[in-house]
């Protein structure tokens, strides 16, 4: 008997073409139940196209997607009831107030008064309680974003996709949102996040897929991804009038206010070799720091490699 739990999301060879443009080139990966998963990529990578196909806003040219085992096309009703999506665009219905909008959204998913206490709880958690009777058009951008998040969660979906939920929002909302999402995740909700704030993804996500030009460039745990590229950064503040020897200049990644950053590939440029070269050249070092690559460095490395290919 197969006891493998059903994947929260199963994405199988999904292709999407707009005429000659191939937005997704046969993307496949699975997201396990209970994961906090990051879907990253530069603009135009195909992230939103993929999310739109999962959500039913767009149709795949070929391939299949299932949510907790339910195909998003042939069994779309069950699949959608198990999914909550926070769209990237700040959209709202101007005819309704906040609480009516949330109750309407719950009704679409077959939920009635039994979820009203949950709606009240979300309004509290997202600092919207004093706006419950405000018309949607009267809310600020940040408030509208909170309502969008509440709308996606109103039917208590076991799988939640957040498409750049913190784009253009203040620090306070980000903290509120992440605290709320962490709580939901601890209680078993699968969370899929796309964001341009890579430090958020590094902090929140257990596993990350990097999408670029419609293809998966990397799919690993966050720690494996961070340890994947064997390089580190060395920051040096040189003594006055000192200059780097010729062989090290090609390693410079930035130079600002007398501080030079070098990117060292572990195998090619052992750190003691760099210091030997500096010493031999008679360079005086005033200060030194090393920095391990963060997700942003890995992201740039992978997507740049994709561009060069």
């Amino acid at each position: 008997m197969n006891n493998t739990p059903i994947d929260a999301l199963k994405i199988d060879a999904v292709q999407k073409s707009y005429g000659a443009l191939q937005a997704l080139k046969g993307v496949s990966f699975n997201i396990r139940q209970g994961e906090f998963f990051g879907l990253l990529g530069p603009n135009g990578a195909g992230k939103s196209t993929l999310i739109n196909i999962i959500a039913g806003l767009s149709r795949a040219t070929s391939g299949h997607i299932s949510v907790l085992g339910h195909d998003t096309v042939t069994d779309f009703r069950t699949a959608r009831r198990k999914l909550g999506v926070v769209p990237q665009e700040l959209v709202f219905d101007p005819f309704f107030n906040v609480v009516d909008m949330l109750r309407i959204q719950a009704g679409y998913y077959g939920c009635g008064e039994e979820v009203w206490p949950w709606i009240d709880e979300m309004l509290e958690r997202l600092d919207l309680a004093n706006k419950r009777n405000s018309m949607m058009r009267m809310l600020s951008g940040g408030m509208k974003r909170r309502v969008l998040i509440a709308q996606a969660l109103v039917h208590k979906p076991p799988v939640v996709i957040l498409d750049e939920p913190t784009a253009g929002v203040d620090v306070e909302l980000r903290r509120t949102l992440w605290a709320f999402m962490r709580d939901l995740h601890v209680k078993g909700t699968t969370v899929v996040l796309t964001t341009h704030y890579l430090e958020e993804a590094q902090e929140m996500c257990g596993r990350i897929a990097i999408l670029d030009k419609g293809e998966v460039r990397a799919l690993e745990t966050t720690s494996a991804l961070l340890g994947r590229n064997p390089f580190r950064f060395l920051r040096l503040k040189l003594g006055e009038g000192a200059a780097l020897p010729e062989g090290l200049r090609e390693l410079i990644t930035s130079e600002k206010e007398g501080v030079i950053e070098l990117k060292l590939e572990t195998a090619k440029h052992p750190i003691n070799g760099v210091f030997t070269a500096l010493r031999n050249a008679g360079v005086v070092i005033e200060d030194v720091h090393t920095r391990e690559p963060d997700l942003e460095d890995i992201f740039i490395e992978l997507t740049r490699a994709g561009s060069a290919a």
């Binding site: 739109n52 959500a55 039913g56 806003l57 767009s58 149709r59 779309f76 009703r77 069950t78 699949a79 959608r80 009831r81 999914l83 999506v85 769209p87 665009e89 959209v91 709202f92 219905d93 101007p94 005819f95 309704f96 009516d100 309407i104 959204q105 009704g107 679409y108 998913y109 077959g110 939920c111 009635g112 709308q151």
Partner: protein
């Protein structure tokens, strides 16, 4: 109530709440416009125009046509404006991402338009009681013509709302199709008074049968036999509903 039924009921409720929130614009305004037509035409033409029906004054003749014309225009406006607004503002994603099938979409949009059309018709008939008394000779025919006509135009509104990508295109649909066809359908005159070309042309206009059939419901006689009118209206309803349903089923211009 199962989840699908609740989804349908919620979409219907939301569509009714949408026009209810702007009742002055969606119900009062068309009623006032139609009453102005009634005042102007009844005052200007009473005595000079005859209904062509024995014992029926021109003002009496005018009222059912004006009510049906307003029903037609409002049933169309309800579905088309709701869809184009949702598309342009982007909030259509809330319903597109929900577990609602084409049956729920179609049913909820049509029924909400019927509710608005019924409110407009009821308001008009109530106010016109101040000017004129109307008999109701064939209530079942009246109801059937009302439901099929309003349903047809609501379905046509779905077609227009899904096809259009900006407000201008809906305005063009209204100005170049719905308004001319409703004005040229015998609201203000009996088609028997028309020259032969226009008489024949009127018989190719489905709105003519809606007006004429509605008049039959009140007076018990009309320009065309009621079963012909009902066949025309029912055929038109099936045609536009089929197109609307197909567009909803395929996600035409909604699901890319």
């Amino acid at each position: 109530m199962n989840p699908n039924q609740r989804g349908f009921y919620t979409l219907l409720k939301k569509e009714v709440m949408r026009f209810w929130a702007v009742l002055g614009q969606t119900v009062s305004a068309p009623v006032i416009t139609a009453l102005l037509y009634l005042l102007v035409f009844a005052q200007a033409l009473q005595g000079r125009m005859v209904s062509g029906y024995e014992g029926i004054s021109y003002t009496q003749f005018l009222v059912p046509g004006l009510v049906m014309m307003t029903v037609i225009q409002n049933a169309f406006a309800n579905t088309s404006s709701s869809l184009i607004q949702s598309k342009v503002m982007g909030n259509i994603v809330f319903t597109l991402m929900a577990p609602l099938g084409p049956v729920e979409w179609f049913g909820a949009y049509i029924l909400a338009a019927l509710v608005r059309a019924a409110l407009v018709a009821a308001a008009m008939l109530t106010v016109t009681l101040l000017f004129v008394r109307l008999p109701v000779a064939q209530p079942l025919a009246l109801l059937a013509v009302f439901l099929l006509s309003a349903g047809s135009l609501a379905a046509l509104g779905i077609v227009a709302g899904l096809w259009a990508q900006k407000f201008d295109q809906i305005a063009a649909f209204t100005n170049f199709i719905v308004t001319p066809l409703s004005f040229l359908s015998g609201v203000f005159y009996s088609v028997h008074s028309l020259p032969s070309f226009w008489y024949t042309a009127s018989h190719l206009n489905p709105f003519f049968y809606m007006i004429d059939g509605f008049r039959y419901g009140f007076f018990g006689h009309a320009d065309v036999a009621i079963h012909i009118s009902l066949l025309w209206i029912a055929g038109f309803f099936v045609l536009v509903s089929g197109i609307a349903y197909w567009m909803l089923h395929t996600g035409y211009r909604m699901r890319k």
